[in-house]
Each structure stands twice: as structure tokens, then as C-alpha cells.
């Protein structure tokens, strides 16, 4: 009969980012693809939160009437704003598709093939980004 040894759970590792501060998001030491995906997921997430409140502020122009809104529509056709639109679409695509991977893997779905899942989703995202960019500048 084998000797019963007490099983002590390993202490939970502190996130690398907490140990290194927020600069840890950009620290390449020991970082694998998943770590970069994690960092970019957070950066795009924070950018999208900022955009959410900017968007709500812009939509307030609708309450000020047609002159205010239609002037904004003209402004939004500025090429610099259109470049911003493409950056925004990139953020949404990366955050959404990587989030889909994190959700699936977190619940054990295709966990063993998550690298392939990540690459596949990023290819889909890149195709959608190209189509969207063409549409934005059409």
C-alpha cells in the first residue's frame, strides 16, 4: 500500500503584470504568445472603454438637433478620423476574437488546440479588417 502524503495546494501565482506593474504588460522577458495576446487584449479593452464614453458623448450631439449632428457627420469623413475608425475596428476585432478564444479555452473547449484556434481567429480577423478598411475608405 502506498504511503498517503498530505496534498498541499500550490500557492496561487501572482500575475506577472502585478509583480512588474503595468509596465509588465510590455515586458518581453519570459512572455509567450499567450502573454502578448493577454497584454494586447487589455490594451484594446481599455481603448474600447475610452471609446465607449467618447461615443456616448458624441451621440449627445443628436439631442442638440440636426445642425450639430450633421456637422459631426461631415467632420467624421476627415481622413484622420477614418484612420481612427480602422484602429477602432482592429481593437474590436482583436478583443472580440481573442476574447472568444479565452472564453472557449476557459471552459475547456478546444483547450488542447488553442494555439491553432488563436491563429485561425486572427486570420479571420485580418480578413475582416482588410474588408472593413476598404469599406471605410471607399
Amino acid at each position: 500500500m502506498s504511503e498517503q502524503r498530505p496534498v498541499t495546494p500550490a500557492p496561487a501565482a501572482r500575475p506577472v503584470e502585478r509583480r512588474r506593474g503595468w509596465w509588465g504588460w510590455f515586458d518581453p522577458r519570459g512572455r509567450r504568445l499567450g502573454g502578448w495576446a493577454f497584454a494586447l487584449n487589455r490594451l484594446t479593452g481599455l481603448g474600447l472603454v475610452a471609446y465607449l464614453y467618447l461615443h456616448l458623448g458624441v451621440l449627445a450631439l443628436l439631442a442638440r438637433g440636426p445642425e450639430a449632428w450633421d456637422a459631426f457627420v461631415d467632420f467624421a469623413l476627415n481622413p484622420l478620423v477614418l484612420v481612427g475608425d480602422v484602429v477602432l475596428i482592429f481593437g474590436m476585432l482583436f478583443h472580440g476574437l481573442n476574447g472568444l478564444r479565452v472564453g472557449l479555452v476557459g471552459y475547456g473547449v478546444v483547450a488542447s488546440r488553442q494555439a491553432a484556434l488563436f491563429v485561425g481567429l486572427m486570420i479571420i480577423g485580418a480578413i475582416v479588417l482588410v474588408v472593413a478598411t476598404l469599406r471605410v475608405f471607399a
Binding site: 496561487a12 501565482a13 501572482r14 500575475p15 506577472v16 503584470e17 502585478r18 509567450r32 504568445l33 499567450g34 502573454g35 495576446a37 493577454f38 487584449n41 487589455r42 479593452g45 481599455l46 474600447l48 472603454v49 465607449l52 464614453y53 456616448l56 451621440l59 449627445a60 443628436l62 439631442a63 438637433g65 440636426p66 449632428w69 450633421d70 457627420v73 467624421a76 469623413l77 475608425d85 475596428i89 474590436m92 472580440g96 476574447g99 472568444l100 478564444r101 479565452v102 472564453g103 479555452v105 476557459g106 471552459y107 488553442q114 494555439a115 488563436f118 472593413a132 469599406r135 471605410v136
Partner: protein, 124 residues
């Protein structure tokens, strides 16, 4: 190549937060896609002019979808920011206060967005 998350990389500030992020994230994949296609990609210049916006908002389905989008995106956004803040380590009582503050911000955001939608529709 590995994309295995390292310990602590799971978003959401705990299992409940992670589940909340997954549910709201899944809803957002659908609602954001609908929003982007209907509000931007099928519109000739990417944005409707005032008259077209008002006409668009006459549909109750559009209003319901936009309100659902607002609620889910606010929930997902604030839960995500909370998770990032929690990663830096606070006491339980501080985390409770942070959660309350985000709840207030979230409710205020949804109330503001709902009021804005109502104001635009009723002004037309």
C-alpha cells in the same frame, strides 16, 4: 508556439467575474456585429444624417437592440476595468468599494444612454 494563459491571466476578477465576462462578451459578439453592420457598413458614408437616424430609431426592434447593446457593453467594459484594477492587489473591503463605485458608474451610464435615446426619439 503556445498561447496557454499564464496564472492570473484570466480576466474578470474571479470565477464569477470571468463567467460574467464570457456571457456579456458572447452577447456583444452578436450585438456589436449587428450594430456595426446596421449602423455603419450598410450606410453609404458610414454614418446616417440626422433625418435618417430619427427614421431608423422609429423601429422598436432597433431601440431594444441598441439598449441591450448599451447594457451589455457597459457591463463588460466596467467588469473588465475592475478586473485590471483588482490584479494590482487591494484589501477585500477596498475591492468591495471599487465594485460599488463601478456599479454606480454602470447604472449612470445605462441611465444616461437610455435618456439620450428617449430625448432623441421624443424630439423628432
Amino acid at each position: 508556439m503556445s498561447v496557454q494563459p499564464r496564472p492570473g491571466e484570466e480576466p474578470g476578477g474571479g470565477a464569477g467575474g470571468f463567467l460574467g465576462q464570457v456571457i456579456s462578451g458572447a452577447a456583444l459578439l452578436v450585438l456589436l456585429a449587428l450594430h456595426m453592420i446596421a449602423q455603419h457598413f450598410v450606410v453609404p458614408e458610414g454614418l446616417r444624417d440626422y433625418a435618417a437616424v430619427i427614421d431608423w430609431l422609429r423601429s422598436p426592434i432597433v431601440v431594444v437592440l441598441e439598449l441591450a447593446f448599451l447594457a451589455f457593453v457597459t457591463w463588460h467594459a466596467l467588469l473588465g476595468v475592475r478586473a485590471i484594477i483588482f490584479d494590482y492587489g487591494f484589501s477585500t473591503s477596498t475591492e468591495r468599494w471599487i465594485t460599488r463605485a463601478f456599479a454606480v458608474i454602470g447604472v449612470a451610464t445605462v441611465v444616461y444612454g437610455t435618456w439620450l435615446l428617449y430625448a432623441v426619439i421624443s424630439a423628432a
